[in-house]
Symmetry: C2
Subunit: 341 residues, 2 copies
């Protein structure tokens, strides 16, 4: 049933041209007579030829493939990013391979190795930031790459595209302050991640601007396991910790927070205002729209790809990077916050 796969050689034999001529004809090269090209192309289609890009890649050195390495594709935030990268890549006739790291260092290393072993032309990676080692390793291989969503601010060698996390943190906090909240709980992500650290900067900046003292008790890192957020909220309420506003590192944590507050008998936004980050499609997970900080994931994805392609082409010309891009963030007010003045 399978029927051996058709190769250039098979087409060459049928047409009495050489393999090379067939190859060039199928690529529509100008130095093959138009008529010959048409004839060969027609026959190739007829015979059901499918190019073997593995062989081509081995010979030519490039694979028209880029790797996208993220922590967790099932997280809608990354899901959207991966989708947008794929869409943009397709326009340039690139294929993507997706690798998960679970934000673990070993898996990150093996993901990078896998990508390299597949001869990808470039890599877009959201680094776990457990350490710099894996990225330095990647850098040394000379394969073009771009960080997305997170950066190593002090390492100029690592190009990146991020959103303006500090501004996002600032806008969220400022909005809560503007609407009358003074005690703002910040449920941050792990601080080794640049986005967490920079959103924290924004949080502090806004507090300072409004003369509100920073209360360490109100700055927490519930971590990525979802139940953690719920437990944390419960214990904060039980301990009687005083706050009326919540700024969450992402929308998922925000939803968790709202869920638990409601469960404990409080209203959102009646008793607490909650603001998230990422602006994940408002109603995929809940009918009650969440106030959030919007970071344009499609823009970030497209820019990351553009830069990567530029680096891929430049690296053929022997030049180097220096790309660092910060995409704007903005506040989107919805129903999980209210003015409490």
């Amino acid at each position: 049933m399978a029927g051996k796969r058709v190769t250039l050689k098979d087409i060459a034999e049928r047409t009495n041209y050489t393999i090379n001529t067939v190859s060039r004809a199928l690529k529509d090269k100008e130095d093959i007579a138009l008529e010959t090209r048409k004839k060969i192309q027609r026959l190739a289609k007829e015979m059901g030829y499918i190019e073997n890009s593995v062989a081509g890649s081995l010979r030519s050195g490039y694979s028209k493939t880029i790797a996208v390495i993220v922590g967790d594709i099932s997280n809608p935030h990354f899901g959207i990013i991966v989708k947008e990268i794929e869409k943009a890549a397709r326009k340039h006739r690139y294929t993507i391979i997706v690798l998960n790291t679970e934000d673990r260092e070993e898996l990150e290393e093996s993901a990078i190795r896998t990508a390299l072993s597949k001869n990808v032309d470039g890599i877009i990676i959201c680094p776990s930031q457990r350490s710099e080692d894996n990225i330095w390793f990647l850098q040394r291989t000379g394969v073009p790459f771009v960080l997305i969503g997170r950066r190593f601010k002090s390492i100029p060698e690592f190009d990146y595209v991020i959103c303006d996390d500090e501004k996002g943190g600032y806008l969220a906090t400022k909005y809560l302050l503007d609407t009358g909240h003074k005690r703002i709980l910040f449920l941050n992500g792990p601080l080794h991640i640049s986005s967490a650290e920079e959103r924290y900067e924004g949080y502090k900046k806004a507090l300072q601007e409004y003369g509100v003292p920073l209360d360490p008790q109100l700055v927490r890192e519930p971590g990525l396991i979802q139940s953690e957020t719920r437990h944390l909220i419960r214990s904060l309420i039980e301990e009687g910790v005083d706050f009326t506003g919540v700024f969450a590192f992402n929308d998922v944590i925000a939803w968790e927070t709202i869920y638990m507050l409601q469960k404990l008998g409080y209203g959102v936004p009646k008793d607490y205002s909650v603001i998230g980050f990422d602006n994940i499609n408002a109603r995929i997970f809940s009918p009650s729209p969440l106030t959030s900080i919007s970071n344009s994931k499609s823009k970030m994805s497209r820019r990351a790809l553009d830069i990567l392609l530029k680096k891929i082409n430049e690296s053929q010309a022997g030049k180097s990077g220096g790309y660092r891009e910060v995409v704007d963030t903005r506040l989107v007010v919805r129903d999980s916050t209210r003015n409490s003045h």
Copy 2:
């Protein structure tokens, strides 16, 4: 800076063994002396060797790669499936490449072609079901594949793993009937998709069992664009169409429905009971939990991969498929439905 990539040849020259010996040593083959293996492996690591799996794949004929082709990875339903497949594949040292079809026939064809050109060992695909052609094409290539989530019931050649859609439709409808609803709005997906068709069967079966006549006015296909659901709900309410229960094709449509009903001043579950499908929010706790039909995505994914690997190995032995698997579905009652007796 780049520093040419280390190959087996480089290691061979340093060690005075042959390329082949080096290759076999790195693969830990028994017929190379243990000591030699260790020595070569150590040096390979030292020199920063990364295997060129493209070359290996060309020679050996298999790539240790499988393609996963879905409509939209940014849809959490597929996001979870892709993630689970990746996780399972990794255990067997397979890499996945992800391709989007946007449920469009041309993109589906080009996705399949791309996958084949990369010499993937197998394909897991959620077919657009716009037609059978692409899948027949795939079948003729002889490359092992498994359908996931959707099936062509009458084509025995196409192996699949789906969830029990009919049972799911039945359970959802039965539950609404059991809790006192007689007028049940069914917001279905496009009928050319098998899961939509089979859930519809379940819906009809439950109605029949309870002696409730089928009202065509209550069976709608709002489509995948989210605003469509909202418009539809609004116009149904405005037209005064009579219903108290809603069974939605997926959780996203369910959320949209709840959102619009609330916007129009109705309560859920006070005035309307709404039930979804996919049980997406099981992972992400949202403020208002949705009653839903749970289909085990991780189980489906794992089974699909198991079957695919089996087919990959069998196809080397020259055997053929015949795998059709239906994973159980069950009802998960949460807060968007209530007993209205």
